[in-house]
Symmetry: none
Subunit: 210 residues, 4 copies
DNA sequence: CATGAATGAGGTTTCATTCAT
DNA sequence: GATGAATGAAACCTCATTCAT
C-alpha cells in the first residue's frame, strides 16, 4: 500500500496530467514538460513509461476506441447474418442501428473526458469517424437499393445521410453533458432522419418510374 | 514589365506558398521559414508585407470571409422585413434561405482553395460557423413556434437541425469539387431536410395535444 | 568528482559567461546565444536552468540586492525607535547612517562584479537607488525641520543632499577598487557633507529670522 | 512655399520623429522603421539624409553639444589668463565658474528635449560629462594646492567634488522643468558646495601641520 | 528626393527527445 | 523507476541597412 492515499502511481499521475494538457491545448500545443511538471515528475519518467508523445496520447484514447471498435464490429458482423424481412412500414428498420448507436453513446459518456479529447483532435478522430461512416454508408446502400428498387441514383446522398447520422450522435454528445438526457433525445433525431430518408426514397422511386 | 512571365510579385509568391503550407500543415504547424523558402525569399521579406503570421493568414482568408459576410448580413437584413404569409403547404418556406445558401456555396467555390484552408482551421472556422448556426437557429425557432402552435418542445432539436443545415453545405463543398454538380445536389438535401422537419413538427403537435 | 578541475557545473559556467556578457554589453544587447557559446552549452541548456533572460539576470543580482535590502530595512527599522537627543554639536548626528552606509559599501565590495553590473544597468538600478534616496530624504527632512526650527524652506535642497549622499558612496565604489582604501575615504566625504549641510542650515535660519 | 502649412521638410519630420523615438525607447531599442513610419516616410528617405542610425542621433544632439562645448572651452581659455589675487575670504572664488554653469544650464533648457535625450543615453553622455569633470578637476586641483599650501592630500576628494559639482547641475535640470526656478536654486547649491569645500580644506591644513 | 522591396544576420524562446547516473 | 542535465533543431520575429527605380 502507498504511504499516503494521495500517492498515485507515477504512470497514473502522468496520464491524468496529460489528459488535462492535451484537452486544454490540443495535441500539438501540449507540452510534455508541462505534463511532467503537473505530474510532479521529470521528462525522463515519462519516457520510461511511454515511447513518445504519440504513445501517451494513444494510451489515453485506446480504452475508449477499443470499446467502440468492439461494439461496431460486433454490430456489423451480426448485421450481415440478419437482414431478412424488410417489408415493414418504416422505410428503414434501423432499430438495431439505434441500439448500437445508443451503446456507443453510453461508451462515449463512460469515457467522457477522453472522448472530448478525441473529438477535439481532428487529425486522429477524422480517420476513425470516416471509417464508421463508411460502414454505415455501405449498410444504407444495400437498404436503399432494396427499398427503392433501383441503384440508379446519386449515391452521394447516401454518404451524406450516413455522415449526418454519425454526426448527430457526436453533436448530441458535445452539447449535452448528461447521459440520460442525451439518450432521451435520440428518438427525435431518429424521427427526423426517418422523415428525411422517406422523402428521399420517394423521390428516387418517382425519378426511376418516369 | 517583368523579365520573365514566371516572375510573380514577391507578395503573390508568398501568398501562394503560404496557402499551400497552411493547408498542408494547418495554421499552427505551418512554418514561416518554410513558406519563405518555397517563395524564394527571406523571412524578412515576409515581414515587410505582413505584420505577423496571423496577418498573412487573415490576408488569405479575408476576401472569402468578407464576401460571405456580406451575403449573410444582407440575407438576414431582408428577412426581418418579409416573413408574411406562412400558410403554405411546405412546413418551412425556406426558398430565400436556400437562395442565400446557394450564393454562399458559389462564393465558396469561387475561393475554393481558401475555403478548404478555412474549413481546415477549426480554431478560426468554428467561431464563424457557429455564428451562422445561431442565426439559422433563431430563424427556425420563430418558424417552429408558429407552425407547431406552441413553444413547449425541446429546443435542442432546432439547434441540431440548424447545425445540420449548415453542415450539409459544408459537407457538399468538401466532397464535390465541381461547383455545378454540387449545386445540383442541393434539392435532394433540401428535400431530406423538409421531410425530417415535417416529421418533427408532427410529433410536437401530437405531444402538445395529448 | 569531476574529471578535471577546470570542469564547472554547467549552471556556474552559464552564470559566469552571463555576468561577463551582461556587464560588457548591457542587459538589452547581451545575447543569450553568445552567453551559451562562451559557456560551451546550447541555448536549450540555459532554458533548463533559467526561465528566461530576466531570470538569469536576476539570479546574478539577487544575492547582492537581498543583502543590501536586509541591511537597509534593518537600519530604518532601528531608526524609528531611537532618534532622541539631537542637542549635539554636529548639525547632523548621522553616525548610524554612516555605519549602515559602510556596511552597504562592504557588501558592494563583497559582490563587486555583480554590483558593477547592477550600477551599469540603469533600468534596474535607478528604481532601487531612488528608493534609498527617498528613505534618506524623509530622514533628513525631519532632522532639518528640528535643527532649522522651521519647515519654510525649499525642500528640493534636501532631496539633492540625499541624492548626493547616496551618489557619493556609489562614486567611491566605482572609482576605487580596493575596499579598505574606499572606506578610508569615507570620513573626508562625510566631513564635506557636514560642512555643506551646516552652511545650508545657517542660511535657512537667517532667512526665517528676517 | 509649401502647399500646406502642415508640410514640413522631410528631414525635419524625420528628426522630430527620431527625437521622440530615441527619447521614449533609448538609442538601442529605437527602431528606424518606427521613426520613418511616424514621419510618414520610408527607410530609404532616412538613408538619403543620414548615413546611419548613429548619424541621425548625433545630428539631433550636435546643436546642444556644440553650444555647450563652445561655452566650456571659452570659459577655460579665459580662466588660464585670469587667476590672480586669491587672498579672498571665500575659499573658492568661483563666481566665474558659476556664471559659466548658469550659461550651460540656460543652454540645456534651451534644448531641453535634446538634453533629456542626451542624459538618457549614458553611452554617449558619460564620455562628454567625464571630460567636463576632468576640466573642473584640474581647475580645482590648482586652487586646492594654492589654498591648502600643499599637495600632500588625497586627490580623489577633488575628483569627487568636481563630479558632484557637475552632477548638481544635471540633477537640477532633471528635477525642475522651469528654467528660472532651476536657476533660483543655484545659490543654495553653491552655498552647500562652498561649505563642504571649506571643511575639506581645513582638514587638509590641519593634517599637513601635524 | 523618395519609394518599396529585399537581405541576412541576429534576437529570444520552446520543444521532443536522449542518456548517464 | 526516475532524475536532471543537455541537445539541437526549429519556432516567430526584428532590425539596420542597401539598392534599383
Amino acid at each position: 500500500m502507498s504511504k499516503n492515499s494521495k500517492d498515485q502511481s507515477a504512470k497514473l499521475k502522468l496520464v491524468e496530467a496529460a489528459k488535462k494538457e492535451f484537452f486544454e491545448k490540443g495535441y500539438e500545443k501540449a507540452s510534455l514538460r508541462s505534463i511532467c511538471n503537473n505530474a510532479d515528475l521529470t521528462t525522463g519518467a515519462l519516457y520510461f513509461f511511454f515511447k513518445d508523445k504519440k504513445d501517451i496520447f494513444n494510451y489515453i484514447l485506446s480504452p475508449l476506441l477499443d470499446e467502440i471498435n468492439t461494439l461496431i464490429t460486433a454490430h456489423y458482423r451480426s448485421e450481415q447474418t440478419s437482414f431478412s424481412d424488410v417489408s415493414v412500414i418504416l422505410p428503414t428498420d434501423n432499430s438495431e442501428d439505434i441500439k448500437t448507436a445508443v451503446e456507443v453513446l453510453r461508451t462515449m459518456y463512460k469515457h467522457r473526458q477522453e472522448c472530448l479529447l478525441f473529438l477535439n483532435t481532428p487529425d486522429v478522430s477524422s480517420i476513425f469517424i470516416n471509417n464508421i461512416i463508411k460502414y454505415t454508408e455501405s449498410h444504407y446502400s444495400s437498404i436503399f437499393e432494396i427499398l427503392a428498387g433501383t441503384n440508379q441514383f446519386d449515391h452521394y446522398i447516401i454518404h451524406w445521410i450516413s455522415h449526418m447520422q454519425i454526426d448527430a450522435f457526436i453533436h448530441l454528445f458535445l452539447h449535452e453533458e448528461n447521459e440520460d438526457k442525451a439518450i432521451a433525445k435520440v428518438p427525435d433525431m431518429v424521427n427526423f432522419m426517418i422523415g428525411g430518408t422517406y422523402k428521399v426514397l420517394e423521390k428516387i422511386k418517382n425519378d426511376s418510374n418516369s
